[in-house]
């Protein structure tokens, strides 16, 4: 076992680490926003909107993330060709998709579906009386959510949400398969040069551990405080 290759290529590893953190934070933010909106749609008044949200959630929770990544990465250029075979503007947009845009889009859609379910169960765990009291006070929908429901929901939703974030940070490693230069892909470049896969992948695993373990301790502490 020869760990000196890690020190030799430390700058590449640090760059990949930072890109992974950037990708994780971005997809967490966009996924949470989308998930919150979809959960509002699913538990809202309009039946047709709730149906659209349900279909979206079923699609993105019913198939593997890797397959979704492949479908978007290989399928979008194909879709551009089918929909506008002779239009160069549309074709160039679809054919110029970078691994980064595809990864962010798919991770947002994927996490949006799961986060929507987390928020939905949060909404449904707030007692009905709160909603009735809010409408008795004359609050309209957005105020009710903002002032009454959300503050109570945060404590309930926090452990499964952060737990999902940890999974999302680990899932960003799949971006390496479609060629995005995050931590795993940088590691593979190093392996191509040095032929030391075990040392490199062990270091990559350790770096993911450094990010994820504190978060999982946070979740464990929060879950212990709840009298479930």
């Amino acid at each position: 076992m020869d760990m000196s290759v890690i020190y030799q290529f430390r700058l590449l590893i640090v760059r990949g680490f930072l890109i992974t953190i950037e990708l994780s934070v971005l997809s967490i933010i966009t996924g949470t926003i989308l998930g919150f909106l979809v959960s509002l749609a699913k538990t809202g008044r309009f039946k047709w909107l709730s149906w659209v949200a349900a279909v979206y959630i079923e699609i993105f929770r019913g198939s593997p993330l890797l397959m979704q990544l492949f479908m978007f990465y290989f399928g979008l250029p194909y879709l551009g060709q089918v929909l506008a075979p002779s239009n160069p503007v549309i074709a160039s947009f679809f054919l110029r998709l970078s691994p980064f845009s595809v990864t962010i889009s798919v991770l947002t859609l994927y996490s949006g579906a799961y986060i929507a379910e987390i928020f939905r169960s949060g909404f449904q765990s707030i007692p009905r009386g709160q909603y009735e009291a809010a409408s008795a006070l004359g609050l309209h929908y957005i105020r009710m959510i903002q002032k009454i429901i959300l503050p109570q929901m945060v404590k309930i939703v926090y452990p499964p949400l952060v737990g999902f974030y940890i999974g999302l940070i680990k899932d960003t490693s799949l971006a390496s398969i479609i060629g995005y230069q995050e931590l795993v892909k940088q590691g593979q470049s190093i392996i191509n040069t040095t032929s030391k896969p075990f040392e490199v992948y062990l270091t990559i695993a350790a770096l993911y551990f450094i990010i994820c373990y504190p978060l999982s301790r946070l979740v464990a502490k929060a879950e212990r405080r709840q009298p479930a």
């Binding site: 076992m1 079923e58 699609i59 019913g62 198939s63 593997p64 993330l65 890797l66 397959m67 492949f70 479908m71 290989f74 399928g75 194909y78 879709l79 060709q81 089918v82 075979p85 940890i166 680990k170 899932d171 490693s173 799949l174 390496s176 398969i177 795993v184 392996i191 030391k196 896969p197 075990f198 992948y201 062990l202 990559i204 695993a205 993911y208 551990f209 994820c212 373990y213 999982s216």
Partner: protein, 224 residues
């Protein structure tokens, strides 16, 4: 160029083979990971009175925390690409199943631990009162109740294993996602093939979920 929905139909045999490989890997992985997970979950709950018990607890805790906080993809790469550095060469299928078993055993260990901790102390005392030794008390009284409590979570983990098998497409295991990639490079009918694969995965998930709900009602008719 229009959509050509005949292409996935013509290759139905590859899809069926891929689905069977996926299901087979899922089953083997779940049974192995379940067994290993029970062992690890129990090891995390034993009293730490002497050095051996302490070492077992520390081993189980380290194993579970390390596996749960690292990506499954890196674990697969470590086993398939990293182990040959030490002379251990595994075929893709064996390496993939080993990686999936190790990964899921950690999550199942946490579920088993939570399930066992949720059993009231009174059950342990009652089992002891009717004269059962610790092993039989665990086997006949405690464990079945724990399984009843965590059965939905175990079912969810089974679905997650189905999605985990998709990762094995990278190391050349002929499961469903790999079939999609191969057919895509043969026929270039990307959207048709991937929509078909999505539908197949969705059908697999729905039928597994329905079967698990039925099994739950059959095995555990009374819930506490």
């Amino acid at each position: 160029m229009f959509f050509d929905w005949l292409t996935p139909l013509m290759h139905w045999k590859e899809f069926v083979n891929g689905a069977f490989v996926t299901l087979g890997i899922t089953l083997i992985t779940f049974i192995s990971a379940f067994g290993l997970g029970i062992l690890l979950g129990v090891l995390r709950l034993i009293p730490r009175r002497n050095i051996v018990q302490n070492a077992a607890y520390i081993f189980a805790t380290t194993y579970v925390e390390m596996i749960r906080n690292t990506p499954a993809l890196v674990q697969i790469y470590l086993i398939y690409f990293g182990l040959p550095e030490f002379g251990i060469l595994l075929k893709p299928l064996a390496a993939g199943i080993l990686a999936l078993v190790i990964n899921n055993s950690a999550y199942i260990a946490e579920m088993v631990r939570a399930g066992l901790r949720s059993i009231p102390k009174g059950q342990h005392e009652a089992a002891q009162a009717i004269g059962l030794n610790p092993v039989n008390a665990f086997r006949l009284v405690i464990f079945p109740q724990a399984i009843r409590n965590i059965f939905p979570a175990l079912g969810n983990q089974l679905i997650m294993i189905v999605f985990g098998t998709a990762l094995l497409s990278i190391i050349d295991v002929r499961e469903l996602t790999d079939v999609a990639l191969i057919l895509n490079s043969e026929t270039f009918r990307t959207i048709e093939i991937f929509v078909t694969i999505t539908v197949i995965y969705y059908l697999l998930t729905i039928s597994l979920s329905t079967f698990l709900v039925f099994l739950d009602k059959k095995l555990f008719p009374v819930k506490v």
